[in-house]
Symmetry: C2
Subunit: 339 residues, 2 copies
DNA sequence: ATGAAAGCGCTAACAA
DNA sequence: TTGTTAGCGCTTTCAT
């Protein structure tokens, strides 16, 4: 490393013949300073190439202007969209976003939260892939500010931004039943996680209300993972090749992609041979045939809402904890056959 | 906010009846401490729920364990892949990644670099969408550590990780010429940026070497942007509908997507009516028909290389500045017709 | 309007 | 092996 000379407020003060306090006042423009002093200071700053040290400032003010975001899978567009939404509200206010992926790994999730805690980020947006309320409570007790998004954990004093998983799933399953489907399969997510549970419950309820039996042989676990879903669906389809389900519901977008891949590989056509619906849209949906009938998720809005909650809390406006439920709608396209 | 009581090293020291220095030694495990003291301290830490304050540590040690990454477009998978590669090498060493998008906006790029500078991140990985060497030099003079990736700026004392844009483009264009194509169009990127320039040069050279004239009416500017590419290609195709180019080269993946969309919308088929090749793969390529013949980019490797350069520099091992050129290969699939 | 000085939480040089 | 203490760069109270 070259000359890593750090220019400090002290040097600026010296050069401008004022005190460090005055320099600080000029920088932050928060206390009266004479025009003359102001000018001298600004000149010195420019000449020295001075840049305020945010770390020192953070230490003093107990505020880092950093927000952490922890998600299970960085490559899933859904979480990227949430991040974008979050960014769009916090960035204009001067906050930076630290984006971390746990790869669905509980241990890594803990490690990342620890790191963010030590970095003293002002807030964390957590899309957890675990149901570990104890650990989370410890972080909260240590003064960490956390908002959960997507998944939730019960009985936690915490803000929540979630989707209406149960009802949305209930609706879309009811829709395919209305289209005449009776042999309905599901590709489940990680069943320890709230979203997967709720979606499965909505699925079951819709079947029940229409007096349709759940067929276990059409139920697979895709772990919210494209590859796993691909493998499991492929195996399931092969096993039932002589009595296929007429429709498959993928509990998230990644698994829908894996499911499409599996279907395609078995030389089956959507929706002629088998229909497909998904919770959440796949990426680049416009280019993929057929266009999928889906529950649309509005991830960006979720991120925005979470951002607003953060800001409100940091400004000390909020008292009670909120559970924000983001509505989702069904988008009917071409992947379901009427039978 | 609730009780935001911060537990400090001092309180731990008090409770354990030792000095703050001893506590620090236990935490960092970098100086000899008696087993007895160690135990007392660890007990106190647990009881109080103490977490080291990384900010204070950073101030003292002049090291933040944070790396910034600035890219033009957060939603382009190419940059996400680079980020993943970077993360995979720095994360195990305890570094966090701050990921920022400029939306191809020069002003925002400057603002983000400023913010990262004030946050005193240890290193910045910059995929610039500008050619502003002056500003960049100022940052470097202020002691900021920067590695450029993807795009480059000449005459800067800086590490570089780039692709072999010129040669890769030359090769793929030569390939389609070998397949009999003579009417060759190009969808250019932002022509102020090094990558776009180099790719265009490679394109021109391949034509020249085969005595093919560039046809201006087949050259469009897609600005490295999906939507723009879609619009411009559509317009160009409509204008030349009676004498279409036989093949189109998109200078990046996003524009390839836009180009596909445009072609599709005009009810043309790839490769029967028009062939398509791309610098970089589109996302979810497996699900999109036909599979595109492309220059494959190895973005993750680029990120890794950049990470390694950073680490080396931070450990003070490196002296000279390196220009790492990542090789790219042509992947032939089904989007080019032989004529 | 300005300056002196305390102190944010931590590390490390020095002394014991 | 342990404690004392200076100081990282900044903000802010208090005095002037």
């Amino acid at each position: 490393m070259i000359d890593d000379k750090m220019v400090t407020i002290k040097q600026v003060a010296q050069r401008a013949n004022v005190s460090t306090a005055t320099v600080s006042r000029v920088i932050n423009d928060n206390y009266p300073v004479s025009d003359e002093a102001k000018e001298k200071v600004q000149k010195a700053i420019k000449e020295l190439g001075y840049r305020p040290n945010g770390i020192a400032r953070s230490l003093k003010c107990n505020k880092t202007y950093m927000v952490g975001m922890v998600v299970p899978d960085i490559s899933n567009n859904y979480f990227m969209d949430i991040a974008r939404g979050l960014e769009s509200v916090i960035s204009p206010l001067g906050y930076s976003l630290i984006f971390c992926s746990t790869d669905e790994n509980t241990e890594k999730e803990l490690k990342l939260l620890n790191a963010l805690n030590e970095k003293r980020v002002d807030f964390v947006l957590l899309a957890s892939s675990t149901q570990n309320s104890d650990k989370l409570e410890k972080f909260i007790k240590q003064g960490m500010n956390i908002i959960m998004i997507d998944t939730s954990i019960d009985d936690l004093e915490i803000d929540l931004v979630v989707e209406d998983n149960y009802n949305a799933t209930y609706k879309i399953i009811s829709y395919v039943i209305g289209e005449g489907h009776r042999k309905i399969g599901i590709v489940n997510g990680i069943m320890e996680v709230s979203t997967a549970k709720e979606r499965y419950k909505g699925f079951l309820k819709a079947l029940e209300n229409n007096n349709i039996e759940v067929e276990d042989r059409y139920v697979v676990n895709g772990n919210y993972n494209r590859k796993k879903a691909y493998e499991e669906v492929k195996r399931m389809l092969q096993k039932n090749i002589n009595d296929l389900p007429t429709v498959l519901f993928a509990a998230n977008n990644d698994m829908a992609e894996g499911t499409m891949l599996a279907i395609k590989e078995l030389n089956l056509n959507i929706p002629e041979d088998i229909s497909l619906i998904s919770f959440g849209d796949i990426s680049l949906a416009q280019l993929i045939e057929p266009r999928l009938t889906i529950i649309s998720q509005n991830a960006e809005l979720m991120g925005q809402k979470a951002g607003e909650l953060m800001i409100n809390r940091m400004e000390g406006n909020e008292e009670d904890y909120h559970k924000v439920i983001i509505p989702s709608e069904i988008i009917i396209r071409q992947s379901v056959k009427s039978i």
